[in-house]
């Protein structure tokens, strides 16, 4: 007979324990990643150089890290607000693609005066992102369709739409490549004169502060937590449960759409087939590691931005493949998640007389 040991949920995991588990997981993940990278041909001595010094301690590196972190903050927030109401938005990339498409339409010289071009791109990308997630939301509320499947599949639909446009009406007339022409000057975020960093920084900063304030200091955030943790009790207590879910999920879509806009208007200045790839995975990683708390979303997004920066350096100078970079991210994530498990549960062997 199997001698069973039971998992017992810790009643009140202390801050120290949680911190230790988190740090332990991070250290373990980084150590394994280091081994992987050295195995792949990166000199051990270069690791510290590239990871720590080049990404945080040099001016160029830091600018690059922050730039890379901007859309990550937005998708992380998008994932986090949906997570708060237990809506699994696995379609962050789809909403992001559509936000990018909407921005591109205006950025390429659609209607409107130049002065309103950036504000219009902001608004339209957010609106279209929200509209795209409204489909799975309605399906879920009306027919009980699992949003995990519907958001994920709609993500692919969005990408096909992008391809349709890039291989069709938006194909670059100059080169014939499936990328759009460059945006009008008025449709680009102004450069801040520090690396690639652009005016999107202020947009992301303001949005992050607003989301932080909303979740922590307004009724909406309170409702969201109540509905997320116990929808039945929230409804019985008279909270507008459905309206809360609708509001936060639409916000999630809007934030993703905004992320798409930030990428095309901030760094790419055109739409191509790769601006949105990888953000779904990153969004979930960030929101999960941050515990769906906005402040920590920003922190984790910056850390992940550094990994991206270091990754691109490794790619260029050491010929490390893209897959390897994803593997490193995955290794670190899995390590931290496993470590969190030990912070949440303790193992115990059943003694006699322990009933009910």
């Amino acid at each position: 007979m199997l001698d069973a040991a039971f998992l017992v949920r810790r009643q009140a995991p202390g801050l120290l324990l949680s911190g230790l588990c988190y740090a332990g997981g991070l250290a373990f993940g980084l150590a394994v990643s280091a081994v992987l990278l050295v195995q792949a041909g990166v000199p051990a001595a270069a690791l510290v150089d590239e990871f720590l010094i080049a990404t945080f301690l040099t001016s160029d590196g830091l600018a690059q890290t922050v730039t890379a972190a901007l859309p990550l903050v937005l998708v992380g927030l998008a994932s986090a607000v949906a997570m708060r109401v237990r809506f699994w938005n696995i379609g962050v990339e789809g909403q992001l693609w559509l936000g990018a498409v909407a921005s591109t339409w205006i950025g390429l010289g659609g209607t409107g005066p130049d002065a309103l071009r950036l504000p219009a791109m902001l608004l339209l990308s957010a609106a279209i992102g929200a509209a795209w997630i409204a489909i799975p939301l309605v399906l879920k509320l009306r027919f009980g369709v699992s949003e995990v499947i519907s958001t994920l599949l709609l993500g692919s639909v969005a990408f096909l739409l992008v391809q349709h446009l890039l291989f069709g009406v938006w194909r670059d007339p100059a080169t014939g490549f499936p990328v759009t022409a460059a945006f009008l000057e008025a449709a680009r975020f102004p450069s801040l004169g520090w690396g690639q960093l652009h005016g999107g920084l202020f947009v992301v900063g303001i949005v992050a502060v607003l989301v932080w304030f909303m979740l922590g200091h307004t009724r909406a955030g309170f409702y969201a937590d109540a509905v997320g943790l116990n929808p039945k009790a929230a409804r019985a207590a008279g909270l507008p449960a459905t309206a809360t879910v609708v509001g936060l999920v639409l916000l999630s879509g809007a934030l993703s759409g905004l992320a798409g806009m930030t990428i095309v208007a901030g760094t790419e200045h055109r739409l191509n087939q790769s601006v949105g790839s990888g953000y779904l995975f990153s969004a979930i990683v960030i929101a999960y590691l941050a515990g769906a708390r906005p402040f920590w979303v920003v922190v984790v997004a910056l850390a992940l931005g550094a990994v991206f920066t270091a990754g691109s350096v490794l790619k260029v100078f050491y010929g490390i493949s893209e897959g390897m970079i994803v593997l490193v991210q995955g290794t670190v994530l899995i390590s931290i998640l496993m470590a969190q498990f030990f912070g949440t549960y303790s193992l115990s062997r059943p003694g006699r007389g322990e009933a009910s």
């Binding site: 955030g221 309170f222 019985a236 207590a237 909270l239």
Partner: protein, 517 residues
């Protein structure tokens, strides 16, 4: 039927010279310091069907769970077929020959019946493949005359079919003593009859069967002897069914402890909650509401007694506004609220204490202050417009913690960390506010210790004295009798009868509880 003549016959058995199939002596068991069993006795002979009856919480299931190795007894002795036994797990109990079929079946839904049996057998002995398990099931099913199809997936089976699969599984594991915990509660009339006839046949083949039940009909029609339990004690040990009548059983079940002091209505207040013809479709494995109706007046407690699973949960959900009825009406202070959302019912003065406080009452992972504020944030009590003033929430919470003497609590402590009694006080502090006019309380002291129970009852009494009305839905009869001005009994989703507390007799309640109008 067999011939045990008196309680003393419990020590004998129907096959002379053979020791009792199961004997329990002086069993005591406490949960978190609360005694569930005290000096309980039970003796089961081979070849008999033995009923254990008693109210909810009388200790019937607990006693049999001790016998079946689910719980370890704190004290007492147990023998199975004459040999001392103290099974530490259901597996050990079954190995010793005793198998229990619980109210909630222990089958893996996504497996077939044969796979479930194989899983339990654990690849020991002759049965090692699914095919062999299937053959064994068919052979056993034929032997005992119980149709079971081994190849079907459990999730696709009806409740009755699952039950049969569970019985065959337990018997295949080697059980000769079969304990059935309220097996007919989930069955239709015909299915119940078929099951009970089978049980008789099984006893005729030399097995011993324990039938835990509430229903006198089943005792009289299908059992040889009966053991009656009350408050964790055996009040009648193994008496022959033929020597008892229904009134006697009802009296022993309920006890003499009836109306503790009469409570004449202080004033015949106006009707504040009127429910008429309320019907809700039954969910799978559940009971719906079948046209239930009653009036509740200001200044009174209407106690709804009844065995659990007769529609109590559905009634509370319906009154709260979480479930919409198919037909019928709910009038709150004269206003039809049958289809309005919970929020508007709260505004009209309705407050609810659900039976499971962490299911639809409190949020386990919320701070105490947040739970206390839960129903009031939407009304702008903690900041106008959309803002939230957490400081004021904490301050209000600190006052409530003082007023209700919630131990181990500060406003920021997670509610799930509180003891049951203190968590219940958080709920009471929120629900028993100034705006309350109608309180629906479902088993408000379930799982609480004496002191917390007293606190809850006093709080309800005070609220009612102050002019509120209370619908007390409880499976705990003493609680209903201690608080109510009027008592109604719920059965199969409807009211089986209603009387003023002064006219309530044990026979009346016992008969209605047992399902006789």
């Amino acid at each position: 039927m067999s011939v045990a003549a008196s309680p003393a016959a419990g020590r004998e058995n129907t096959s002379p010279g053979r020791p009792p199939a199961l004997e329990l002596r002086g069993i005591g068991k406490a949960f978190d310091g609360r005694p569930a069993l005290a000096d309980a006795q039970f003796s089961l002979a081979w070849g008999e069907v033995h009923a254990i009856v008693g109210e909810n919480g009388a200790g019937k299931s607990t006693l049999m769970n001790v016998a079946a190795g689910v719980y370890a007894a704190d004290e007492g002795e147990q023998t199975i077929d004459g040999a001392a036994a103290s099974p530490r797990s259901p597996m050990e109990a079954t190995a010793a020959g005793l198998g229990m079929v619980h109210q909630h079946f222990r089958l893996v839904d996504s497996f077939t019946v044969a796979e479930n049996v194989l899983l339990s057998l654990g690849r020991r002995g002759a049965v090692r493949t699914i095919a062999q398990a299937g053959a064994a099931i068919i052979a056993k099913a034929r032997e005992i005359g119980l149709p079971v199809d081994p190849s079907r997936v459990v999730a696709d089976l009806s409740t009755a079919e699952r039950q049969r699969a569970e019985i065959v599984r337990v018997l295949l594991l080697g059980a000769r003593i079969l304990v059935l915990d309220e097996p007919t509660a989930v069955l239709t009339e015909d299915e119940a009859k078929a099951l009970l006839s089978f049980v008789r046949r099984l006893a005729g083949q030399g097995h011993a069967v324990v039938l835990i039940t509430h229903k006198y009909r089943e005792v009289a029609g299908f059992c040889d002897r009966v053991t009656i339990m009350r408050h964790g004690r055996t009040v009648l040990a193994g008496a022959a069914v033929s020597g008892l009548d229904e009134a006697e059983v009802a009296r022993l079940m309920v006890g003499e402890a009836l109306p503790a002091g009469s409570r004449p209505l202080s004033s015949a207040g106006p009707v504040v909650l009127a429910v008429a013809g309320l019907s809700v479709e039954a969910r799978p494995h559940g009971q719906g509401l079948a046209g239930i109706g009653f009036d509740l007046r200001a200044g009174e407690v209407l106690g709804l007694a009844g065995v659990g699973g007769n529609g109590q949960e559905e009634l509370v959900s319906c009154l709260t506004g979480l479930v919409l009825p198919q037909s019928g009406a709910i009038l709150l202070a004269g206003r039809d609220v049958t289809t309005v959302p919970p929020r508007e019912r709260r505004r009209a003065g309705l407050r609810v204490i659900p039976s499971d406080r962490f299911d639809s009452g409190l949020i386990r992972d919320f701070a105490i202050a947040d739970n206390l504020a839960l129903s009031r944030v939407a009304d702008g009590a903690f900041g106008a417009l959309l803002f939230l003033r957490r400081g004021r929430m904490r301050q209000t919470a600190a006052e409530a913690i003082d007023a209700f003497d919630i131990r181990g609590a500060t406003p920021t402590v997670r509610t799930g960390l509180l003891s049951g009694g203190n968590a219940q006080k958080v709920l009471l502090a929120r629900e028993l506010d100034a705006g309350m006019t109608v309180l629906v309380a479902h088993s408000p002291s379930r799982g609480l210790d004496m002191k917390a129970t007293q606190f809850v009852r006093t709080a309800i009494r005070r609220a009612v004295e102050a002019g509120a009305a209370c619908l007390l839905i409880s499976e705990d009869l003493p609680e209903v009798l201690a608080l109510s001005h009027r008592v109604a009994v719920m059965n199969r989703g409807a009211i089986a009868g209603c009387r003023d507390i002064a006219d309530v007799t044990p026979e009346w309640i016992g008969a209605l509880l047992a399902g006789h109008a």
